[in-house]
Amino acid sequence: MLGTGMHPWGKWGRPFAEYGVAAAREALRDAGVAWRDVGFAVGAATIRNGYPGFVAGATYARALGWSGARIASCYAACASGAQAIDIARTRILAGLCDVALVVGADATPKGFFTPVGGDRPDDPDWLRFRLLGATNPAYFGLYARRRMASYGSTPEDFAAVKVKNALAGSLNPLARYRRTVTAEEVLASPMVADPLRLMDICATSDGGAALVLASSAYARRHGVTDAVRLAAVSTVTPVFPSTVLELPEFATDSCAAVPPPERSFRQSLAHAAYEEAGLGPREVSFAEVYDLSTALELDWVEDIGLCPPGEADKLLRAGDTALGGRVPVNPSGGLASFGEAIPAQAIAQVCELTRQLRGWAGARQVAGARVGLAVNQGLFGHGSAVIATR
């Protein structure tokens, strides 16, 4: 990872490409790489910004000035950025290019994410709104209630996640929300999807993030000997039968005839990354997890193996997952402080891994960080886990 760049998250109301180009320029500057030297540019697509959003790779290449570089665009819901990284990395590992640029950016409307327009009764993402009014927060509410029933988590535990992440976010100049909050404020915020309140649920944001990736040989030729390395990128899909109700589905798979797999989807995402990196949860110095809700952060902490199922609340209460704790979770401030800018988010997670591993994270620096893990999950069987090391 030679360079990182980010446009601050917010609700800026400008075209998404502006955020992406700003992030790309910063990443190139940080890497000391000229755009002309980039052999391959991958854009993580956005589906709410018309044709330029679908062909994001071309949009960024054109904005930076057509240079003849090969391009690709990919969409994989919340994992779009990680898939873009994976495509760039694979091309580098195949020896087909030395330097690649990965960019993701989004401009989002206010309020709930809604399905793309038009009557589409054959699209489950449209139908779940039409038939059930099942918004994204509704699914987060179902998971949170299930967690309370299974493990005895409480709304106070969920609020403590927000308090922790808001504190980290207050130390991050790129975050959208930079104010610390109290548990009382969280617990007094309006109920949205029972048992989750407004401050338990991540907002939707504008933002952009970019990375410059290069082969080890290229880095060495340019005098970089201690670059942060991508040790693993996992983009595995679920294994039938998946017994967790996932967005935007109406039902789980059936486990009546075929027994469920050993690991849930989220667990399998992290597991595959650990296998690829030859590392385990014990080696992880810190993690960026997809806290679409406060309760979901607790699920992730268990799914990536930082503790057994049902014990994430204990880790949280002991301060283990806070800045300065044994294994900080979301030292960037997480989605709680950023809000979600879908195609940029997984790239932003990897930017944070890189900054932390370089020791450039300032007041939110994780001391002695050697191994960072970033995980996310999105609609339609998409998800990712990335491990970076130094």
Binding site: G111, F112, T114, P115, D119, P121, P124, W126, L127, R128, F129, R130, L131, L132, G133, A134, T135, P137, A138, G141, L142, Y143, A144, R145, R146, A149, P190, M191, V192, A193, D194, P195, L196, F240, P241, T243, L245, E249, F250, A251, T252, D253, S254, C255, A256, A257, V258
Partner: protein, 134 residues
């Protein structure tokens, strides 16, 4: 009586039934109904036949939408909060999401038994719903 979606459930004298599909080869059930080969990757089954799902199950989880969901949902005016329950059907080994009818959130509990019924969306057509055991 208009159904909000054709082929996913039926309403008759013997109550409301969800319609799924069952693989003729391994017995795997799917909801919503699906054509094509069996969803189990190792099953050679190529044909899925229609099947009625169990009418009773246990609440896996539930939530209440305190704000009106956006279009294409049609919210009642004034808005009455929509309760959703994910219900586990033991025989089929699946969890099915649905709106909850005539049960206040305070009456709901993870693990309690509920029964399938149906009710109208705010603009008229019927949809399956989870309700009190008769």
């Amino acid at each position: 009586m208009t159904l909000a979606i054709e082929g996913w459930f039926t309403v008759g004298p013997d109550g409301t039934h969800l319609l799924g599909t069952r693989c003729g080869s391994c017995g795997t059930v799917a909801f919503p109904p699906r054509g094509g080969p069996c969803p189990a990757p190792d099953c050679p089954g190529q044909s899925m036949e229609q099947t009625r799902l169990s009418r009773r199950g246990r609440v896996w989880s539930y939530t209440v939408a305190r704000y009106p969901p956006p279009a294409p949902f049609v919210a009642a005016e004034p808005y009455t909060p929509v309760t959703l329950a994910a219900v586990e059907l033991a025989r089929e080994g699946i969890v099915v999401l649905g709106q909850v009818k005539d049960l206040a959130p305070e009456e709901l509990e993870v693990g309690m038994e509920v029964e399938l019924t149906c009710g109208p969306l705010a603009d008229g057509p019927l949809v399956w719903m989870w309700g009190r055991v008769s």
